[in-house]
């Protein structure tokens, strides 16, 4: 049942053997050890497994590993720059106290990367909508919104 797929993960081309039934979340966790990809429901309800596929945020639990053939996938492990500096969004999450248990955090950060990548500034209400696919039970979203708002402002403002 294993099949080889070629894709780019966090900037590095790789070839991995995946079970045809695997979701991308399973492939990233099991074949590549990228455990930042969290599983909170495995049916597309919580957003914890969000990664970027060719720049778009997707629920990797709902995305077959095979579909990632030839695509470029980014997880939070891939956000650090060469000198190990954190991405501005990661810094904003720390500084705004947007992290509590941390289980929703990697997924939210990946959605924030997508949002910031649009190159524009958003209102708080727009951000609420854009982040509404992520469930967080710890923060009430207040500091997450503050963090994303700050990152958007710093990068695109």
């Amino acid at each position: 049942m294993l099949q080889i797929i070629k894709l780019t993960v966090n900037g590095k081309p790789c070839e991995i053997a995946v079970d045809r039934r695997w979701s991308l979340a399973e492939a990233l966790r099991q074949a590549l050890g990228l455990t930042s990809v969290k599983k909170g429901c495995e049916v597309g309800e919580c957003g914890a497994c969000t990664v970027l596929v060719d720049g778009k945020a997707v629920d990797s639990c709902l995305y077959l590993a095979l579909w990632a053939e030839g695509k470029s996938v980014v997880t939070v492990e891939g956000l650090k720059s060469g000198d190990n500096d954190l991405h501005p969004i990661q810094k904003a999450f720390i500084e705004e106290c947007a992290v509590q248990c941390g289980f929703c955090t990697p997924g939210l950060i990946m959605s924030a990367v997508e949002i910031v990548g649009e190159g524009r500034v958003y209102s708080r209400d727009e951000l609420r909508k854009l982040l509404s696919g992520h469930l967080c039970r710890c923060t009430g979203y207040e500091n997450i919104l503050n963090a994303v708002e700050r990152a958007v402002r710093e990068i695109n403002g």
Binding site: S36, V76, I94, C97, Q100, C104, R128, R137, E142
Partner: protein, 765 residues
């Protein structure tokens, strides 16, 4: 009191960097890839006896290694509550659980388990297991379970379905009842079953090594977990080793032992092979724990000034199929009623916890207080409305005052910020102005109102249970130190404030303290874990004592090496200084010498136990401004403010973050969250899509505020913080809706269907 500067400083979380980079490891991240996979077969009937389990087809599925049924597991009853163990038999938790059950008591109960090489094989096998049940009558609500002819769910515990009940009486209530000059109020308030919804499921894996069963699991209570696994398997407690990595939220669900004993057992019978048991989100909903649905039949007698003369409250808690925390939560609901408000003449509370054929209720953030507080705060506004009083004034007349001592528990009000919290909330919410504005007659489809609610919350469990915590500081060769605790980081920020406290007490720089975040019961000092908002208070006392001892050991070493009197020396960040502030030796040099001196090496460590015999009340309030769309039955929260007295704040930014999270949980409880069961006891909305916890779109900007007090019993003036924020939000919103619409909703949640029905009944739409 003046505390060292690190107390009250909003340092960033010590675990934040690892959590934003993906370096932080949670249970599932640590499981070996080749672990066997276990899945559980759940009961499809709400109440019955398993007559037979046919596994013959399931066993043929390729990849299936083992199937165990309720007929195979040891017949040992064990408790699951995350309570400290009691050495007195009469105070021990009810042991009504089995690893798998022949007598199934709810839809979702555990009948059999499959161990297979992968998920697919396990899932296929589950589908092929045939179970034959002899069905028994199912009691899916409290009243049917209490019917005189109802069969007891747990004969060995009780000959009725009452898990436990108790009555508290003070004063002559009959005299109050008979007074014609008093106004009598009677309402029934109902709260719904709700769930924690930690985003990480309940998950574990287990293997055997060195003659021990090792269990890595997502838990708030590693040491209690070890004990319960030992009890469940009939093995010595020391032969179990529990490891707790980072956890993706708990909120009380993981203050219970869930599937970890079954996981340990499955590894045990597989000869110690590594077995993973990760339940699905749907199983988390049906088969873990939930917040008790409670019904409070609430009577109050007041004089014409609004003074409570007497109350008589019956609290009924729906406990579901197993005891879990037993009567403790319902008892807590009833106790708080006499704490938060005081009756001039008489108080009576009666509390009953009832088994039903539904999912098991257990601990959830607030431990019975959100339910009681909803009723108490609704009643206050209902009385205020009748008497034409301001809700704040009637509360001030009746609420707890400084110097209060609970007559049953002896817990005293040692520090008091309640009145100031209310005043602060009043100002921030512009209460007087808005309350007056919205009191004017409103017409049209959109109505506005403002409401509030208050609460009190204890800090830890003394004297109801043991309170104990231990801490260890271990010097490194470079003059930094490890802090080791049995207390757990569960997302609340515990590790960060523990480091702040250790720095304050030892004199070391904050940056020099490294917390060992993971607990391994083989090496972590004993602590009962994260619950009852106890850790900054109870564990904090242990850290303080430990830090002081560590400081003393460091100065003694310096004194001996440099021939100076120890009492002249102290630890000052990165060095030992004398009274003039001059450096005697750096900690790095002192440590190197301590480890490697040829004329006397010493590994400097400090380890203490703090046996806590204190408790204290935290306070707070919520102010909510709402806009109600009558036709849509929709409540939009325009403004939400919580003001808390949690004593001294160790880390104000983290404290505010904790409050915001609690407020959103309270908001969901108020407006949308409810576990819906049908008449057969089947959960209808057990997914994160159908169970409506708030998303970023549902939450307004949250305002978390504090009144800082200095509690003399807290290690650094601090008291409970973690759970309280979830408590006052629902009644504040309900009371705001009452002002906006004139309709008193006595049942949660305030969801559109309920609202539209009530508004049409009253001719508002």
């Amino acid at each position: 009191m003046a505390y060292p500067d690190i107390i009250g400083k909003s340092v960033p979380r010590v675990d934040a960097r690892d959590k934003v980079t993906g370096a932080a490891k949670y249970t599932a991240d640590l499981c070996p890839a080749n672990a066997l996979v276990a899945r559980v077969l759940h009961s499809t009937v709400a109440h019955g006896l398993v007559r037979a389990v046919d596994i013959s087809e399931a066993e043929k599925v390729p990849g299936v290694e083992k199937i165990v049924t309720c007929f195979d597991v040891p017949d040992i009853g064990f408790p699951t509550a995350g309570h400290p163990w009691s050495t007195e038999i009469s105070h021990q938790d009810i042991g009504d659980r089995r690893l798998l059950n022949r007598h199934v008591r709810y839809i979702g109960d555990d009948v059999a388990a499959v161990v297979a090489v992968d998920e697919v094989a396990a899932a296929r096998a589950l589908r092929l297991i045939r179970v034959e049940y002899e069905e028994l009558p199912a009691y899916t609500d409290v009243s049917s379970a209490l019917a005189p002819d109802a069969l007891p769910l747990h004969e060995e515990v009780s000959d009725s379905n009452i898990v436990k009940q108790h009555i508290y009486e003070a004063g002559d209530l009959d005299a109050v009842r008979s007074r014609a000059d008093l106004r009598h109020f009677r309402h029934t308030y109902r709260t719904q079953p709700a769930q924690h919804c930690h985003i990480e499921s309940a998950t574990s894996f287990a293997w055997m090594e060195g003659g021990k069963i090792c269990v890595v699991c997502s838990t708030q209570i590693p040491h209690i977990m070890r004990r319960v696994i030992g009890q469940a398997l009939g093995l010595p407690w020391g032969s179990i080793r529990v490891i707790k990595p980072y956890i993706g939220g708990g909120f009380g669900n993981k203050q219970d032992v869930l599937y970890e004993p079954l996981n340990a057992y499955l590894s045990y019978i597989m000869g110690g092979a590594c077995v993973r048991l990760e339940i699905s989100r749907e199983e988390v909903f049906t088969s873990t724990r939930q917040r008790h649905a409670e019904e409070l039949d609430y009577q109050a007698w007041v004089d014409d000034k609004g003074r409570l003369m007497g109350r008589d409250v019956l609290v009924l808690a729906q406990n579901g199929a197993y005891a879990s925390h037993g009567h403790a939560i319902c008892a807590n609901s009833s106790t708080v009623l006499r704490d938060i408000y005081n009756d001039e003449l008489a108080t009576r509370t009666e509390a009953k916890t009832v088994y039903t054929n539904t999912g098991t209720a257990g601990a959830m953030r607030g431990y019975g207080i959100p339910q009681a507080c909803f009723a108490a705060e609704c009643m206050m506004d209902d009385i205020a409305l009748e008497l034409g009083m301001d809700p704040i004034e009637i509360r001030k007349l009746n609420m707890m005052r400084p110097g209060f001592v609970d007559p049953g528990t002896g817990i005293a009000c040692n520090s008091y910020g309640l009145a100031d919290c209310i005043e602060k909330g009043r100002e921030l919410s512009r209460w007087d102005e808005k309350r007056a504005r919205y009191a004017k007659p409103q017409s049209g489809n959109i109505r506005r109102g403002i409401g509030m609610g208050i609460f009190t919350y204890k800090t830890g469990v003394y004297p109801i249970s043991l309170e104990t915590a231990s801490a260890r500081l271990v010097l490194n060769e470079d003059g930094t130190a490890q802090l080791q605790l049995g207390a757990t980081e569960i997302g609340q920020g515990g590790d960060t404030v523990f480091c702040q406290m250790a720095a304050a007490a030892s004199g070391l720089d904050f940056e020099r303290i490294h917390i060992v975040s993971f607990q391994d019961t083989d090496t972590a000092p004993f602590d009962t874990g994260a619950y009852a908002s106890r850790q900054t208070y109870v564990t904090g006392k242990a850290i303080k004592k430990c830090g002081e001892l560590f400081r003393q050991k460091l100065t003694e070493r310096a004194a001996a090496r440099f021939h100076r009197p120890a009492e002249e020396l102290t630890v000052a960040g990165d060095r030992i200084a004398d009274r003039s502030g001059a450096t005697v030796v750096t900690l790095a040099d002192l440590a190197e010498d301590a480890f490697y001196a040829l004329d006397g090496s010493e590994h400097i460590t400090a380890e203490v136990t703090s046996h806590c015999t204190d408790n204290t009340f935290a306070f707070g309030c919520c102010f909510a401004e709402v806009e109600v769309d009558l036709a849509l039955g929709r409540v939009k929260v325009l403004d939400l403010i919580n003001v808390h007295d949690s004593g001294t704040l160790i880390n104000p930014a983290l404290a505010a973050a904790q409050v915001e999270g609690g407020m959103s949980m309270g908001l969901g409880y108020a407006l949308s969250e409810e576990m819906l069961y049908n008449g057969e006891g089947r959960l209808l909305n057990g997914t994160l899509l159908d169970y409506k916890l708030p998303t970023a779109l549902d939450v307004p900007d949250l305002k978390a505020e504090f009144v800082v007090t200095d509690d003399p019993t807290g290690p650094f003036g601090n008291k409970a913080l973690g759970e309280p924020p979830a408590i006052p939000v629902a009644p504040a919103i309900r009371n705001a809706v009452l002002q906006a619409t004139g309709v008193a909703f006595n049942e949660l949640p305030l969801e559109p269907k309920r609202l539209v029905a009530a508004f049409s009944e009253r001719g508002l739409i």
